[in-house]
């Protein structure tokens, strides 16, 4: 059963345990751990981990922990896992209260006892809580991220003394931190039910974690940028080479005694696919830098804020882009910003693919914008354009504006083939009755800017008129930026 390479290092003979195989379960944390374990075992996927590879991977993790036994404090070079242990494995054998009084040999003995491979041979006669195979032991918070103490019986089955787990599943939980970014007292992980993506992303995470653990000293004092975790996910998604078949989750957690914490954010699968398309489709890639610029604030870089918004408020991406363009127009006395054409394919595809706005309806708004541009662009006075922007801002009376302009449209000599009606019923419903009416109105503003830019329209007028236009555009930009 057990083989001893030396008197202190027991190892498992995998041949005696052919059932040491890893199964993916319903737990995101176990799944991340399973893929991390696969990397440590040099297997291509959890299903490919051999019993021998599993034992080797567990041994490798134990060796990492044993590397801390000679250290007095976690802050010393090489103290990565000791430092992380307070957040991951509180009250475990790596960081007992009496650790300072223990000798390195005593610490080694305690860690080996905690991660003993002998558990692999035990049988409880009850199924593993994750995979349903026979469990080998009872486990609690010391081994299960976000688990309960083994002394608490609220959530365990009658007579159970903790959570029953099999050896491969508990090994996955031990491997979980390797698939995470451990910083700032938090473990941040990317999860998806798309196994291929999860495998790829976890592989990269394991490499980064092992690199951080191997560094002679932790990079201290480096303040993380705004929404750094969300930005990491955005970049991972954009850099992924295959179609994503499931949403992508960002999970931030802590298992510390001070505060057990779990925060999960989800990036929808359509958004993830759209982000990938901004790398792979030439017309979208060209405008990506312009789009990220529209998302920026004084405090937050554009791509970081884009990353945050695609997780929490996808509709805000469109609103922020239009607000930015209005602010740019205000700065240039009403002149349409030059980046409008480059943004067009991005924003239209975003409306269609992410905000689920029907392609035919997007086309309707585009045609409506063309009619409005004909009306507004009749002369170069800034007044009519200013009135439209004001009416289509928060608090503006767009309905009243359309009512008066519909008359103008009837009186105005229309180009051949142009619709007789300025605002058909379907367009009206989109702008005023649809549950996403604000998004449709933002799209209309953008499409009007685009149509005017194509027509080469520029406002001309007295200094007073241009100043009023600038002020109104600036006010609209501020109102539209408000989270709402």
């Amino acid at each position: 059963m057990l083989e001893y390479e030396d008197s202190a290092t027991p190892t498992v003979n995998p041949a005696a345990r052919p059932d040491l195989t890893v199964e993916l379960t319903a737990s995101p944390l176990q799944r991340i751990g399973a893929f991390a374990l696969a990397v440590l075992a040099s297997a291509s996927s959890p299903g490919e981990i051999t019993p021998d590879g599993l034992v080797r991977a567990v041994d490798r993790m134990t060796t990492d922990l044993l590397g801390t036994t000679g250290l007095a404090k976690a802050a010393e070079p090489g103290g990565f896992w000791l430092s992380a242990s307070y957040m991951l494995w509180p009250n475990s054998k790596i960081n007992p209260t009496a650790r300072a009084k223990q000798s390195p040999e005593e610490r080694r003995r305690q860690i080996r006892a905690w991660r003993s491979p002998e558990a692999a041979f035990q049988r409880l006669g009850v199924p593993c809580a994750y995979c349903g195979r026979e469990a080998c032991d009872w486990y609690g918070k010391v081994d299960i991220p976000l688990g309960a103490s083994v002394a608490h019986r609220n959530t365990t089955a009658p007579e159970h003394q903790g959570t029953p787990l099999c050896y491969p599943c508990v090994a996955c939980l031990w491997a979980f931190p390797y698939g995470a970014r451990l910083a700032g007292g938090r473990a941040a992980v990317i999860h998806s039910w798309d196994d291929a993506f999860l495998g790829r992303i976890t592989h990269l995470a394991v490499q980064a974690t092992r690199q951080a653990a191997g560094a002679s000293s932790a990079a201290r004092g480096t303040k993380p940028g705004p929404y750094e975790r969300e930005l990491t996910v955005l970049r991972a998604v954009r850099g992924y080479g295959y179609r994503l078949t499931a949403p992508v989750e960002l999970i931030v957690l802590s298992n510390s005694n001070k505060e057990q914490l779990l925060v999960t954010q989800e990036m929808g699968q359509p958004i993830a696919e759209w982000l990938r398309s901004t790398v792979r489709k030439a017309n979208r890639a060209a405008g990506y830098a312009a789009l990220t610029a529209t998302q920026a604030t004084k405090q937050v870089p554009g791509e970081a804020f884009l990353a945050k918004r695609v997780f929490t408020r996808p509709a805000q991406v469109l609103g922020a882009a239009v607000a930015h363009l209005l602010a740019q127009s205000a700065a240039a006395q009403g002149v349409i910003p030059p980046e409008v054409p480059a943004l067009s394919p991005l924003l239209r595809s975003y409306c269609n693919e992410v905000l689920s706005m029907d392609e035919k309806d997007v086309e309707r708004i585009t045609q409506l914008a063309a009619r409005l541009a004909l009306l507004l662009g009749r002369d170069s006075r800034p007044g009519p354009f200013r009135d439209f922007i004001r009416a289509n801002s928060r608090g503006g009376n767009l309905y009243g504006w359309f009512r008066s302009k519909a008359v103008d449209w009837q009186l105005f000599p229309r180009p051949e083939g142009a619709d007789r009606v300025l605002l058909p019923v379907r367009d009206y419903r989109l702008l005023f009755e649809d549950e996403r009416s604000w998004s449709w109105r933002r799209l209309l503003t953008f499409a009007v800017l685009e149509a005017l830019a194509e027509a080469g329209w520029e406002p001309k007028g007295s200094t007073e008129e241009l100043r009023e236009l600038r002020d109104d555009l600036a006010e609209s930009a501020v109102n539209d930026t408000e989270e709402g």
Partner: protein, 216 residues
Amino acid sequence: MPQALEITVTAPVVSFRNPLYDGLQVGLPCPPPSTVGGLLAAAAGGWDRVPSTTRFAMAFHAAGHGTDLETYHPIAAPGTETNTTIKDRDFLARTTLTVWLTDDLDRWERAIRRPVWPLRLGRSQDLVAARTTRVELRPAAGFQGRALVSDTLSATTGTRMRLTTAVSHDRSRTRWEGYRYAADGSSARIDSALATPTGQAVAMLPPTHPDQFLAD
């Protein structure tokens, strides 16, 4: 046309705990099928009075959500002391659960009108009101709306989740399955085979009866 019993269950506040994180009180956005199966079993008077083949379709809507504080009383292992503490707990507000049953309609109608055990959803203190109506189903695809559907159905949208389908009688076994749920509703048309007169998809979920573990 096939007929269904439509059960509408309403509650001002409910909370469905995610059992994967037993150190925290993490909430699910909708009840798992095992919870709804348990509610039906309470109405019938226990699992012994529920046919093992019973299946249902369900939809769920919460008008709001939040996090409150709850006093947590750990049950201690023999010989150990534990301290009562305060924990965050996610909750859902102004909720409506709709369940469609297509078999034993008379029996279920009687059970919901005169439930044997008090009907609860989630926590023991979250009592609910339930009423029934008969609806004619159309043998057609429907829109997903706020239905909880199996993720094996094609064209479904919403968050993919692993939820408990069934729990064994002694609570030592759990059957997990993949589902999709769009809390804000989904306009996706899904191949549900049945739909209500309003076009809502009626997608039957796997059986929740604990007897299914007896065969394992």
